[in-house]
């Protein structure tokens, strides 16, 4: 069976574009529109790789990332964060949440700031999903 890559982003253009890149990398794309839907799909489909946006309605990528990485069942799925916000800002908010009482979570396997070069994204998908 083809390995699945789950794309979680509220922007339909990103979902379409990333799906196309995933297909060209030789995997089957699956999509979710926010963190809540994303987490349900992760639990159900067990994807080989997650591509995650940060700023989304309902449940944000920041919170969803924490839930993924603190769940023993899910924390070995690699995550590519693809966001308009800078990596430092993302990491800072994770640190702040950790200090607030939660666990410390590891850095994501890859981080791309939008706009991403399609070739770089493709190479990273191939590297992390295999």
């Amino acid at each position: 069976m083809e390995k699945k890559v789950l794309i979680i982003d509220d922007d339909v253009d990103v979902r379409t574009f990333a799906s196309s890149v995933v297909e060209n990398s030789g995997y089957k794309p699956d999509i979710a529109k926010d963190g809540e839907e994303g987490l349900n799909k992760v639990r159900k489909e067990k994807p080989a790789l997650i591509i995650l946006d940060v700023l989304m309605p309902k449940e944000s990528g920041i919170k969803m990332y924490r839930e993924l990485k603190t769940d023993n069942q899910l924390n070995d799925i690699p995550v590519i964060v693809l966001s308009g916000i800078a990596k430092r800002t993302f990491l800072r908010s994770q640190r702040a949440l950790a200090e607030f009482g939660g666990q410390t979570v590891p850095e994501p396997e890859a981080y791309f700031e939008k706009p991403v070069e399609p070739e770089e994204l493709e190479a990273m998908i191939k590297k992390l999903a295999s």
Partner: protein, 527 residues
């Protein structure tokens, strides 16, 4: 009381007169002949001499003559025989103060002595007065000299430029402040310049009118808060001018002008305006950065998908074209050309936006320990194909002595990428097609663990005018291709590291950019 010398060959007279004079309060010395009298005169400080005329040896006239030669101020009273008017007159001619006829009466003696005393006092007063006068003149001269020097220093030390002229506009004073503003030396100005060459127009006209007598009076001072003068090399120098006419009595005898150099103030004002503008741009950009990045991502995604589709159907189109060149050629080539236009312009928007973002506050530098050679190598790798496509040799020459250093790798990467991209453009724009173009990227260690990157090209180079402008906002020589921000961003990044960018360029020969970054040790390296 004065010392008195009495010379008489008659012992009796000496005795009687001595007693009388001593009782009058004089300190009396006596001599019995002219010779003895003269030697006493030279030994004692005598102010009045009384001498008999007729004496053996040196007579009274001879004594008088010699004494007057020694001290012209001496008061000499001679005793003459009764009716001997001839020798009395002769004595007076030789400078005797008075004569008393023998036998010497007390009254005559007293009168003669009183007169002698008065004359002595008068002479002394005259002498004192003359001395005083000389001292006063000397003191006054010194005072004038001191004041002159003080005023001269005051003028010379003034930071403001001070120029004074005579009534014809000839330069009399030109201080060091004026030298700095106008660029002439004091000698040059005094020799060959005139008020017309130096004063701003309006005060010049007024000054000229008054000095030439066209107008009678004017305000005491002209003040122009914001005007300019023309310096030696034609430089327009902004100044605050104040000046006026100098009067000697009612007559205008010259003019004076004070020039305050406003160059530094103006420059600071401009820099302030510029930095405020930049800060405003930065804040605006930072505020909309997220949206812009998402839109760019969408554009790039769209390009990717169309490219993908073109690739998949491209071979088919290509084949059809070959088989039947006339039918499908036009629409297809238009599609390709149009699509290239879209892609090129998306790249342009993307470059501009990323430059703006880099320049705004949105991008925060993240410092970590890394190998500068690796960054330089990566940049060369990225630019290799662009260089090759344009027949440019890209050379990397990295010193192995460069160690790991704390810096913001993403920032330095962008900075070098901008410089290398510029260098390649400089070769592309170079009209001299005979050249074998190259772009060389080097690294070398600097003092105290720092590093220097050099990006050298033998492309078109820059003239001084362009060179002076390259670090200013939105300046670009590349027409529609440049964002006008690349070097500004590169400079900002270097400055954030506490480093600097230096440029050397020769028109037609090429350009060298040097980025120097200081070494910072430890985890908490602060920039």
């Amino acid at each position: 009381m004065s010392k008195l010398l009495l010379i008489d060959d008659e012992k009796g007279i000496r005795k009687v007169l001595s007693i009388s004079l001593t009782s009058d309060g004089y300190d009396v010395v006596t001599a019995e002949n002219g010779q003895e009298g003269l030697s006493l005169f030279q030994k004692e400080s005598v102010s009045i001499v009384m001498t008999d005329m007729k004496m053996p040896g040196l007579d009274g006239l001879e004594v008088l003559k010699r004494m007057k030669q020694i001290n012209p101020d001496i008061e000499v009273i001679v005793f003459t025989g009764h009716g001997d008017m001839k020798s009395a007159v002769r004595a007076l001619q030789l400078g005797a103060s008075d004569f008393i006829t023998k036998p010497v009466g007390d009254q005559a003696l007293s009168i003669a002595l009183t007169r002698a005393e008065q004359r002595l006092e008068l002479k002394q007063r005259l002498k004192n007065y003359t001395n005083n006068l000389e001292n006063m003149v000397k003191e006054a001269t010194e005072e004038v000299q001191r004041r002159y020097e003080f005023e001269d220093k005051l003028i010379q030390r003034s930071i403001d430029g001070i120029v004074a002229t005579d009534e014809e506009g000839k330069i009399l004073v030109f201080n060091s402040g004026a030298e700095k503003i106008f660029g002439y030396t004091e000698d040059e100005a005094k020799r060959s310049k005139n008020a017309c060459d130096l004063y701003p127009e309006e005060p010049l006209e007024k000054t000229a009118d008054i000095l030439s007598g066209k107008k009678e009076t004017a305000e005491d001072v002209f003040i122009m808060e914001d005007t300019s003068v023309v310096g030696k090399n034609g430089e327009i120098v902004p100044v605050r001018f104040s000046g006026g006419i100098l009067y000697g009595g009612d007559k205008a005898i010259g003019s004076v002008g004070f020039f305050q150099d406003l160059r530094k103030i103006k420059r600071l004002q401009q820099e302030l305006i510029k930095s405020e503008k930049l800060a405003a741009v930065g804040q605006t950009i930072a505020g909309i950065a997220h949206s812009i990045k998402n839109i760019l991502n969408g554009l790039k995604g769209g390009v990717y998908m169309v490219n993908d589709a073109l690739k998949k159907s491209g071979s088919e189109l290509g084949i059809r074209e070959k088989q039947d060149p006339d039918v499908k050629k036009r629409p297809h080539s238009e599609l390709i050309t149009g699509w290239d236009m879209v892609k090129r312009n998306i790249d342009k928007v993307s470059d501009l936006v990323l430059d703006l973002l880099s320049y705004s506050k949105e991008r925060e530098p993240g410092y970590e320990k890394c190998d500068p050679n690796e960054i330089a190598d990566e940049v060369c790798y990225l630019m290799e194909s662009k260089a090759r496509d344009n027949n440019i040799v890209l050379i990397g020459d990295f010193s192995e002595r460069v160690g790991e250093i704390y810096l913001d790798p993403a920032g330095i990467h962008r900075c070098l990428l901008d410089l290398v991209s510029n260098a390649i453009d400089a070769c592309i724009f170079d009209p001299d097609t005979e050249k074998e173009w190259y772009v060389k990227v080097t690294t070398r260690p600097e003092n105290e663990g720092g590093v220097a990157f050099e990006v050298i090209d033998n492309g078109c180079g820059m003239d001084d005018e362009v060179k002076n402008k390259i670090f200013s906002q939105f300046f670009s020589t590349k027409g529609a291709r440049g964002t006008g921000l690349g070097l500004l961003v590169a400079q900002k990044i270097a400055n954030e590291h506490g480093g600097a960018i230096h440029v050397e360029s020769q028109l037609g020969k090429g350009t060298t950019f040097t980025v120097r970054l200081p070494g910072k040790e430890g985890e908490n390296a602060q920039f």
